[in-house]
Symmetry: D4
């Protein structure tokens, strides 16, 4: 608000004409008034300015963004959908930790896992869902959450889910990741008493139609408490889980 106050003081002191003041206020209304607040706020809580979506950017573009971020004191940076080739180029300039399953690169370090309300469970139906799951898990860890991984617990073998009933029942948030028929979300959603984020994956063939089957299945879950993100969107799920797992820090 300082800049607005400044303008007004200059008006009051007649150092600035009213016409000039109107122009100034009009010119940057959003940064100075409403939106500045937003951006400040975002930096503290939301963390999205710590994230680079690497999919459609060149290594050079990513390096440019890192540079700007670092110069703005953003030392911990999460880069998603980062192909190995790009990572190799970036690593010549910046020390980067690379998670090849998740296709995530991290500059700096993950936040402390002690800050969340509880534990985030990341569960998958099969082993083919693991890359998406790792994207979710490492995203959640980056933002400071403890993550328990329950991989390959698909509903065709219910005992595999049941073997982890304690983890499921004690979780703060659960991310269920499955392709094919996507039934995991409903089964886990029925057992858990916490929010469940469902991630359909493009794993499958034929009538899975690249994840459509799992997507529709999850949207129609008969278990209350299940919400859905885009197909293969592990990052999105990890990000929302982090938000929910840090709810108490708000007040």
């Amino acid at each position: 608000m300082n800049e607005l106050k400044n303008i007004l003081e200059q008006v009051k002191d007649k150092k600035l004409s009213i016409k000039e003041a109107i122009l100034k206020i009009k010119k940057k209304p959003f940064e100075d008034i409403g939106f500045a607040k937003i951006d400040l706020h975002r930096k503290i809580c939301k963390g999205t300015n710590e994230v680079i979506y690497g999919a459609s950017k060149t290594a050079e573009q990513i390096i440019g963004i890192i540079k700007t971020m670092v110069s703005n004191k953003q030392n911990n940076i999460l880069i998603t959908r980062l192909q190995k080739e790009k990572k190799d180029i970036i690593s010549k300039k910046y020390r980067i930790k690379y998670f090849s399953d998740a296709k995530i690169g991290i500059i700096g370090q993950k936040n402390s896992a002690s800050s969340g309300i509880g534990i985030i469970v990341v569960a998958t139906g099969g082993t083919s869902d693991i890359p998406v799951a790792e994207e979710a898990a490492i995203t959640a860890e980056f933002f400071g959450n403890k993550v328990v991984r329950l991989y390959d617990i698909g509903v065709a073998g219910l005992h595999r889910i049941m073997a982890h009933i304690d983890d499921i029942m004690n979780a703060s948030v659960i991310i269920t990741i499955a392709g094919m028929e996507g039934a995991l979300a409903s089964v886990v959603g029925g057992l858990a008493d916490c929010p469940v984020i469902a991630v359909p994956t493009s794993v499958g063939y034929g009538a899975s139609f690249n994840g459509l089957s799992a997507l529709l299945s999850m949207l129609n879950s008969c278990s209350a408490g299940v919400s859905v993100v885009n197909i293969d969107n592990g990052f999105g799920a990890g990000y929302i889980a982090n938000m929910i797992n840090h709810m108490e820090t708000k007040k």
Copy 2:
């Protein structure tokens, strides 16, 4: 086969020239030769000529078909998708037992349930799936099967399924009927060691797209042993289950 035999005897007895015989055999080759075998065979085993699909027929048309069937010694007749109004008209001519949930009418009586290998379980995810389930169950009963109904055991409450684990594990065939996310087929398929016929239903709203969600889900079931019939096709499932449950009678 009588007619063919007749022709041959006439040839043998020289009452019929070879040319005339060829003509006769050519003229009705299918009824008399190959297909007659089929039809005879079907009558004994397959039973579809005991069934009338009532959906798009008028009461009068149905009465006409019944008449023909009865005159052909077909005394037990199953009429599916029979609306109550049509049933009321038919019942003036024929004694008909009507199952209003299943929208099935039966002339004559069901076959004895003692003939099958074992028990057919008909399971539904919710209460709204019951009309489809009843169509399946009564069809199965009509053809002589013992049916156990497990209704409203959707995967959101796994304990409801588990309470019936014995029925599921002892079944000869299981018909799983579910709308929405259709996960029941996979969960039951994972528990059972018998063939599972999955029936998606049009129960649901929004992204269930009139049963598409459940259909895709069931086709993508990660449980081996699950095959699928058309949306809301309770009759088809009951019919197949009957076939499977009478496998040993073949030899």
Copy 3:
């Protein structure tokens, strides 16, 4: 757990043979052992056994369920998708408060709104989305949340959203409800720093394809922090928002 304890005590006291004990434990494993825990737990936290989905049930069936619930000390009951005609029948037996926009009936009363972390904002793109929004809002209120309604703030008039920037930025959870192009979720998701539950609605015509357009739009939201429920699923959104807004009560 009492029953299991009982059995064990009887074994200890030799009033029950080991064989009999095994039988008893096997017979009701789910209610008594594992799942009882679940169900007990659910009653306290999750609340789904307080909810009746009224869409495909007759008034009589609903009355039956209410009866059972009341006899189980469940005095506050939420009935969703309850048509007015059914409500009129039920109200002859039970005192029921009816919300006609939301098509929700409540037996007993809503929980106190003081229990949640913060405020749940329910925002709609247009006035036609209000029935879905009311389903979400009253569900959230029923479970004990303070709800702020921001209706008709569609993105075509950004100033309408901006006029409520404080509510959006202070919310604990936001439910965004929109048909047609469903852009509200992305815009609000970009402004807020809390979880956003997006509900596509079937409002629209032509290429909205009964909500498909809004659904896809919301699933593809470029704003992190947005998850999606089924088309027109106000209840689901309200239920999840409640879960998130009560996160701190878990520890």
Copy 4:
């Protein structure tokens, strides 16, 4: 059940407190009671733990699984969707028989074909459907079934089907495999009096939409007795056919 008996005996002998007993029983309810039974049962009858789905696993992962299975006395192993490259690596460690059309590898040997009720017919519409058909046929043979292959008997040349009328009419189960319009299932279903498993294939172009056309066609079959599995899912069909063809072994 031994472990449960053990716990109870310890209680009886006062070597274990009731509280400790409750904990133990709660902790592993599924393995010890219900699920143990399931898993044991599955091993004997269902055979799915003899199968590795190779599609999304590395050669190394597959070798790891084989190792575990072999060490658990599982000497006959079926590996589906196994690319030649992976097979070459695996064959350095294990003797593996490879079926290049079916993309199936077998460790050990197929079961004896003498165990089934009758013969499984595997029929295709065209020659392009053969890889899927071989997956079905070899799966069925692996589990101990006699298989008759009827390839390239598409409905455009009805005489090709008719030339095999005896095989079709004597089959115990028929697997019909077709892309494009998928009519084979209906025609064969009309001729046969046994269960028909229909496998749509992605063979075709244009409006076949990668198998959607054949899939919908088969789901809408006017022949009773036809159920459907996922597009190109030869394994699933072979597995179900095996189940049905071994029905009499159940009692």
Copy 5:
């Protein structure tokens, strides 16, 4: 061409200025030159100006069109998709023959059936397809074709098709009409040696998706010689069949 000749003669005779002539020629270039030929031609051969598509027109609008046509010496008129209510109003002004199955009304009379090359066969898979079939058949008859109706010869009972093998093999053109899996087109196309027009119908339920299943099936027919018209478009099929059956009259 008379009018153009006229204009030129007037120019030659200097009764018309060049500027006026240009205007006249520009004003009606299409009727007078190219298009006039077309329209004249169409009247003789194509017959579409004898047809009124009644679906979205009021009885009054239809009467108006009939009036114009009659005043232009068009005495035989075919009105398709004519609801009974509209027919009743029209019949007060014009003598109209109404075919209630086909929802066709005919003013005047059908053309003589003797003009075609041969016979048009109209075949349906089931009885529910008859309304579409009658639209096709009566359209074909109206334009002067002999029609043989083969109804309810669906592929599930191949012997029903075979019983009519002579009609199929002697046809000049065959119209195959089927809903559900639409396999009739392929089977008939394989038997016949004449052009086959396939009409998918909206008959069916569930995964027939209002005719989509039959439509895709027919487009993917493996029988050469099959072309397809819109779902339920009996008129279109009858019209094309007529064109083909009158091919020899062209020279």
Copy 6:
């Protein structure tokens, strides 16, 4: 801008403390600063605040909105998708001119048609498209455009289009409205040298899939200069056409 100027003058004159000024500016930033400009601007040029979308509003709600608009000196109001029943109720309070084809009601009067650059042509493929066309035409007239209606000039009879070649070539903007195959847009787009707004309609049956066919066809138009609005969105097309036809008034 007056209010902002006012605030600043009060600051300058020390009638308002800086803190109070900040509060005021923050409180209504959008109306007062950026958005006020927008809204003022919109009122003059864009005209959307003269429009009520009547589809999902009650007559009472519409009356309320009219009241507010009239009190804000908005005397000419366009109400779209207004059913006759609602119109009858509104007409008791306000003088309303109703166009039953277009389902449009107008309070006050249309703007003068003299203001536009040129003429807007509204063309339809068939007579069934007229309601959508009238919605477009009356919308365009309301905003002050001269409209030429070319109805029923579908591409199956090219001479019908050609008869109006002068109108098409002289138009300032053309709105092409067609269902079924929607080819009109491409043909007209090829003839015209002005922007073409294409409106697909839900007219048709079967594979028109409620306008999807025309929509896709128009989006794929090979004629440059064609853009598309939603299915049946006559208002949108009329509104855009008006914008384009008033382009020169901008400078």
Copy 7:
């Protein structure tokens, strides 16, 4: 018929018992009686046994089929969807004429073009449609038809169509081939008075959805006389056009 005659003679001569005769007749009913007639007939008229669909066959398989055909006096062979690489291998064994645009190979020679009723016009909307058009054109030529090619006459430039109005109006059959919006079929269908076979192509991008747009457009053609084949199915169109263009040879 010889074999049947033989059997009957043996019966007459009492060399064969009636029972044996029945068995023999039953065993090969289709080849000997009904279907033999079909196959003979097909060879003369239909010509499909002169065609090899090369897409999914290896060069070796194709060579094998050619060998069989040649040994059966089938000297003129059309091979469709034949990739250049396969052609090169085949050409080492057989003299083959290769059309690289059409991806067609011909062994032997085309039939004389003099046999048809008239001329087949093959028209395309753009230059990208030419490969499909050539498949159609060469197929038609192979079966003995005179073909006129009208390429790149898309509806965006109506004068390009009009420049060929005589060809269109004099054609015996027209094949219209277009991607994108597929409007060519309707425009040509409106001008012509002969059957029009429409071939949608996968040419286009975005909302053409690989030919779906053109397919739906053509199915919804408002021009009577248009029927449709599968996307990119040039062969099918050429084959049907040939059938129609040889109609008079039937009698």
Copy 8:
């Protein structure tokens, strides 16, 4: 019109018989009479004959077209969807300026930007949309428009849009280009008072279904004034924007 005038004068002067005149007029009716006007007209205003769609043409074909155009005094030529490899070949014959992002090549030069009414704004949601945006921008520049590029102003960060509010509000036409949820069109459409052309892009993954999500979203825009072109069709948008921005030149 000269040629027609010539013919008429020759008739008047009796240098041409009427019969010859008819023949001449009939022979080239379209170029000479109606369509000549079109083509002449098009050259001046529409500019499409200055454009080559390069996607499915070989470098050689493109060179051929350029040659013809240049010989017809068309010196400025825009080639869209031109891959670098083809450009390299063409550049050996013609001086060509290549824009690698846009995949556009220009022979000659862009038109002067001073001719339009105002400024065309090209805005994108993200950086991945830039190639499509550049296609639009350079197309608009080629035809003589001043273009302002606003890239990466997606709705998730509303302040990015607001920072450019002046450009948006002062634009003559705005092209909004976005993939994923495509909300940019609605937000910009709500702020602007000029026509908005929306271009959905295939940017995104999963449920973006290659641009379907953005396409539907844009078609359902709640902002009046938005029309839509095909997915990734930057050229089309630039072309229409140019048309609109040159509206005043028409009179």
